[in-house]
């Protein structure tokens, strides 16, 4: 990890690893989709259970993205490393996109299952708040001109958010139990049959790989932008 912290070495390493990662993402997403569509309809949910294969991995990836964002922020704050700053910055829009994807697919799943596009379910509400945290982070970053300072300040926000998220999750869960009338029965047995588990696993792997592919591309783009800006100003890289 330490050796990758050098931007030049990161560029070289990421260039060789990127095609493999992208290929693996495409294969697992493709296989997951094929298996997912081939999966039999659920005895309770019918064909709508297949929304799970695009919904659940999006939710997992969105949570993982915030974890990585907070981790990169911590490294950026402690070690003052520009690459960690870039990693944190570029993870935010991706995390927001996967959060939005999770919300949209959840809503599409909710329509046939719960009879409404939106219900104030604990997880949905937590995810809506997570989306706002992402948006606040991105807005704050865009509002500060000095990039190094923006990175540090946003890192503080990311860590405050990381401390707060479990509390938000807990409070929203507590809130949904208080509002008993709207509590939701989640269909589906305690065990997921292997026919469902395999596509879910492949899709989760595919989403995760896709996130890393996009993340690396974004970091590379940022590094290139900076290099070209420096060259334009006449400073040799």
């Amino acid at each position: 990890m330490q050796t990758l912290a050098n931007p030049t070495r990161f560029m070289a390493a990421s260039q060789s690893i990127l095609p493999w990662l992208a290929g693996a993402a495409a294969i697992s997403l493709g296989a997951g989709l094929v298996l997912g569509f081939a999966a039999p309809p659920d005895y309770q949910q019918g064909d709508t259970v297949k929304i799970m294969f695009v919904h659940v991995p999006a939710v997992w990836t969105a949570m993982m993205a915030y974890g990585l964002l907070a981790l990169a922020s911590l490294i950026g704050l402690v070690n003052r490393h520009p690459l960690a700053d870039l990693a944190a910055r570029t993870a935010a829009p991706l995390g927001a996109a996967f959060t939005a994807l999770g919300l949209i697919t959840g809503s599409l799943w909710g329509r046939p299952m719960w009879g409404a596009w939106w219900v104030w379910d604990g997880r949905l509400t937590t995810f809506l708040l997570l989306l706002f945290i992402y948006v606040g982070y991105i807005a704050l970053w865009n509002a500060i001109e000095d990039e190094t300072r923006a990175a540090r300040i946003c890192a503080v926000l990311a860590l405050v958010g990381a401390v707060n998220l479990p509390v938000i999750e807990f409070s929203v869960d507590w809130w949904t139990t208080l509002h008993q009338g709207e509590s939701i029965f989640r269909a589906g047995g305690p065990l997921i049959a292997p026919v469902f588990l395999w596509p879910l696993f492949l899709m989760a792997l595919g989403y995760t790989l896709l996130f890393f592919v996009l993340w690396i591309i974004r970091i590379r783009t940022e590094i290139l932008v900076r290099q070209s800006r420096r060259t334009a100003m006449g400073i040799s890289a």
Binding site: G136, A139, A143, V163, L178
Partner: protein, 221 residues
């Protein structure tokens, strides 16, 4: 301690005399709450049911209004640099700022809340819980709000970003605060007040470190 008290009293006096601080927050709180019955109708049963939520949301918004003054004015005229140079640590300064913000928003909001509780048709017991929950929960609003104020203090138009950053983080306070009122109203077992107190204590304890870090970064440290 002397300089701590001096800083608090300076900020409180500035808020009261220059910004119209306490009165403005209370007026906003009352005006926003008054609009709700006009919007949803005058059914007192319905109003009592939503009173906890409406008044808590209004209180959070009223407290947010004065947050941008917390550091920005001092930053703009340079006095924040002077304050930072004082023997007090930035963490202590943050505590003083949070305390003075709470004294000029949280306390007055708590004091007028029984009146608004009556207007919303809450029974006496629920009004007591509402005021108690605001008394315990508003320090968390000031503490977490101060983090947002510290993060955005150098942004020229931070007024819009500050609520965006702070509001999602305040969800637990609103949930527990409004939940305690609703639980009392419908005689449900709650524990919401205990959770609110725990949340508020943790926020007041931890926030000064984040505020100090944010201010330090913005002062170019």
């Amino acid at each position: 301690m002397m300089s701590f008290m001096a800083l608090v009293s300076r900020d409180v006096r500035l808020a009261v005399r220059a910004g119209g601080g306490a009165a403005l927050a209370v007026a906003f709180f009352a005006a926003a709450a008054t609009l709700v019955p006009l919007g949803v109708g005058a059914d007192l049963w319905l109003l009592a049911q939503i009173a906890g939520g409406v008044l808590w949301v209004a209180a959070v918004l009223a407290a947010l209004l004065s947050l941008d003054r917390l550091f920005q004015a001092d930053f703009d005229d340079g006095s924040l640099d002077i304050i930072a140079l004082s023997p007090l640590s930035l963490e202590t300064i943050s505590v003083a700022k949070i305390l003075s913000h709470w004294l000029t928003t949280g306390v007055p909001l708590t004091l007028v809340s029984p009146l608004l509780g009556v207007l919303f048709g809450l029974p006496a017991k629920a009004i007591a819980v509402l005021s108690l929950s605001l008394l315990m929960g508003t320090p968390a609003i000031s503490a977490i709000g101060a983090i947002g104020a510290g993060l955005t203090l150098a942004i020229r138009r931070g007024g819009l970003i500050l609520p965006l950053v702070v509001l999602p983080l305040l969800a637990p306070a609103v949930i527990f605060g409004a939940g305690s009122v609703l639980a009392t109203l419908n005689t449900m077992p709650g524990g919401a007040l205990a959770l609110l107190a725990a949340y508020s204590l943790a926020a007041v304890l931890l926030a000064p470190f984040a505020v100090a870090a944010a201010v330090r970064l913005n002062l170019g440290g």
